[in-house]
């Protein structure tokens, strides 16, 4: 009886360690699972910051989402592109799990032909510049921040 208990305790302990290991490092691009057009859980294990997401969204070296999307919530930015649809009210069209999937890998959601880059993919590119080889455009944290920001875009 004692032995069984302690085995269970060891088991619980290791599980605790393992799950701590998972939250310490984000899900890698290879581990991401998109099913039915959704990624249900946060890549980092915690919620992103919409305030930071707003920065990444407009930053030309990071999301640069404004290159292709009009977004009235960022009125103070002079230039908004029109290659993709306006993102006004986007939170009412897609739920959080869908928005996460769109930003992580737009190709799986809209098809290979979409102009929208896959922001959390680190391979399969042709002739990437050396300094971007094996890298994702955005980090897991930045993806979660942007998802949190997109969730605020309601009409």
């Amino acid at each position: 009886m004692e032995r069984v208990l302690s085995a269970a305790a060891v088991c619980l302990l290791t599980m605790g360690l393992v799950s701590q290991g998972v939250t310490a490092g984000p899900v890698t691009p290879a581990e991401v699972k998109i099913s039915d057009g959704e990624i249900k859980t946060s890549l980092t294990g915690s919620a992103g910051s919409a305030v930071k997401g707003r920065e990444w969204f407009k930053n030309r070296k990071l999301g640069n989402c404004l290159a292709c999307h009009v977004n009235s919530e960022l009125k103070e930015e002079q230039f908004h592109g029109e290659v993709g649809p306006a993102l006004d009210g986007v939170a009412e069209r897609w739920n959080e799990a869908q928005l996460r999937a769109i930003v992580v890998n737009s190709k799986i959601i809209f098809g290979e032909e979409t102009m929208m880059p896959a922001f959390y993919r680190d391979g399969g590119f042709t002739r990437p510049l050396k300094k971007f080889k094996g890298k994702t455009i955005l980090s897991a944290e930045q993806i979660e921040d942007i998802v949190a920001y997109l969730r605020t875009l309601k009409e």
């Binding site: 640069n64 290159a67 230039f79």
Partner: protein, 290 residues
């Protein structure tokens, strides 16, 4: 900018009325090329021609039609066109003796207005001795090394840009007319393959921007068809003239792709293919862009 605001408002109004399809058309109609006409000293330029029957573009537009009026204006008067500083330098170099053979371009080619007329419009052109198509830059350097026994000019040097601007000017107003058949066919097809291939971390192709989305804004830039009828082109961003291959390189780096070698076979093939997409457009060298 004005166009964008109008078109997105139009799109919203149409969407509100449940006319999503109409909204798409409205955006395109309002955001396309502008209707201005390009004429310099009374000479009119073709900035819009019908596309080839079996070609990818219904209408072919010069990049000039997508620039704002301030940029357009700089090309309307040669005194305002900053590219003409290089044209003057090129004219001087034309008659400057250089190299061990003791010759200038003029020694063999005489008056450039005669001998170089139409040359830019046909480049890149098949060269039997080389067994491949050569760009204008390659041809000039061949003459320097073989006929003048002079050192080749660097691709993006002031000398080369000045000479390509000066020679290009002798074709100004003439229609782009490159050959794509015979031995050129394989090079044309290779260029086409490069044009449609997705590259870089952003995973985009030339066609994604310049065929599928021309007329739209991509952040602050109004996307054109990426035509090369105006090269070498003065760009305010560069504050100088730049070659076709420099532009290709810049577009590739923007999508985080490793560019092909300037002057190499891939960019020569791509240059030929892009030129063929602009058949019939007037040569505008030296054009002004932003």
């Amino acid at each position: 900018m004005g166009t964008r605001v109008i078109s997105s408002t139009a799109a919203k109004l149409a969407a509100a009325a449940g006319l999503a399809a109409v909204a798409a058309y409205a955006t395109v109609a309002l955001a396309g090329p502008n209707d201005n006409e390009l004429a310099v000293d009374g000479q009119k330029y073709m900035t819009e021609v019908p596309g080839a029957k079996d070609g990818p573009l219904e209408k072919v537009y010069s990049g000039w039609r997508f620039r704002n009026e301030a940029t357009q204006a700089m090309q309307l008067d040669d005194f305002d066109n900053p590219g003409f500083t290089n044209v003057e330098t090129g004219e001087q170099l034309w008659s400057t003796v250089d190299g061990e053979a003791g010759k200038s371009c003029e020694s063999c080619h005489g008056d450039a207005a005669e001998s170089m007329k139409g040359v830019r419009a046909q480049m890149p052109k098949w060269n039997e001795a080389a067994g491949k198509p050569l760009t204008l830059e390659h041809t000039i350097n061949n003459c320097r090394t073989q006929n003048m026994k002079a050192a080749p000019w660097k691709w993006e040097s002031n000398e080369m840009l000045s000479m390509t601007a000066f020679i290009g000017l002798q074709s100004r107003g003439m229609p782009v007319n490159v050959k794509t058949d015979g031995p050129m066919k394989a090079w044309h097809d290779k260029g086409k393959e490069i044009y449609y291939a997705r590259v870089g971390q952003l995973d985009m192709s030339c066609s994604g921007c310049h065929e599928e989305n021309y007329g739209k804004m991509i952040r602050a830039d109004h996307l054109s068809q990426g035509q090369i009828n105006g090269f070498p082109t003065y760009r305010s961003k560069w504050q100088k003239l730049g070659s076709i291959h420099r532009r290709f390189k810049g577009c590739m780096k923007n999508i985080r792709a490793t560019p092909f070698k300037v002057g190499g076979d891939e960019f020569t093939a791509l240059e030929l293919y892009v030129a063929s997409r602009g058949q019939g457009l007037s040569i505008e060298t030296p054009a002004v862009r932003n």
